[in-house]
Symmetry: C2
């Protein structure tokens, strides 16, 4: 799989709310999160923000991952990205739903 086989996924309860909010406060990152709301996606299929260099996209994923918002795991030669709904719900109840429920900008 591309890059290191294992990436760090923090316990969401160790992540300050402010960091979660910050991760969600960027339009491109939020677009990705909304896209993932319907289910996991291979990275290559995250078309929410098109025409973006892979390094930039990878960086967005890193911010989301380090904030505990998404999971990024290798599968074959790709990477599967998924929302950490349950973990987020346990740490910050209602937060993700409220954000996802917000009208599109």
């Amino acid at each position: 799989m591309p890059g290191p086989s294992v990436l760090i996924h923090p316990d969401v309860r160790d992540v300050p709310v402010t960091e979660v909010l910050f991760a969600l406060s960027d339009p491109a990152r939020l677009a990705i999160v909304r896209e993932l709301a319907d289910g996991p996606l291979d990275m290559a299929d995250c078309t929410a923000v098109p025409d973006m260099p892979k390094s930039t996209r990878s960086h967005l994923m890193k911010v989301l991952r380090e904030a505990g918002v998404i999971r990024n795991e290798p599968v074959g030669r790709n990477r599967r990205i998924s929302l950490r709904r349950d973990d987020l719900e346990a740490a910050y109840p209602g937060l993700l739903d409220a954000v996802l429920g917000a009208a599109r900008d």
Copy 2:
């Protein structure tokens, strides 16, 4: 009252969620918001973040105000700061409650 008699308070529905999230993603600003959860406060009584230059504090308030999170209105020689709970609830249901409900960092 200090400064201009009227400050701009946007319609929260015109403020992108991302901007609201960003305003709340700073520890100092979030501390202010939490302090206001119990009711309006004169600016001088916002002690959540002590020992801060007034220009810095004023800037934090500006970011929160422009994001539609707080109201800042003159009263006598002071300024009254209040949470725009109802407006936020109407625009982004559940969001503020979820953030306020989050465990303190």
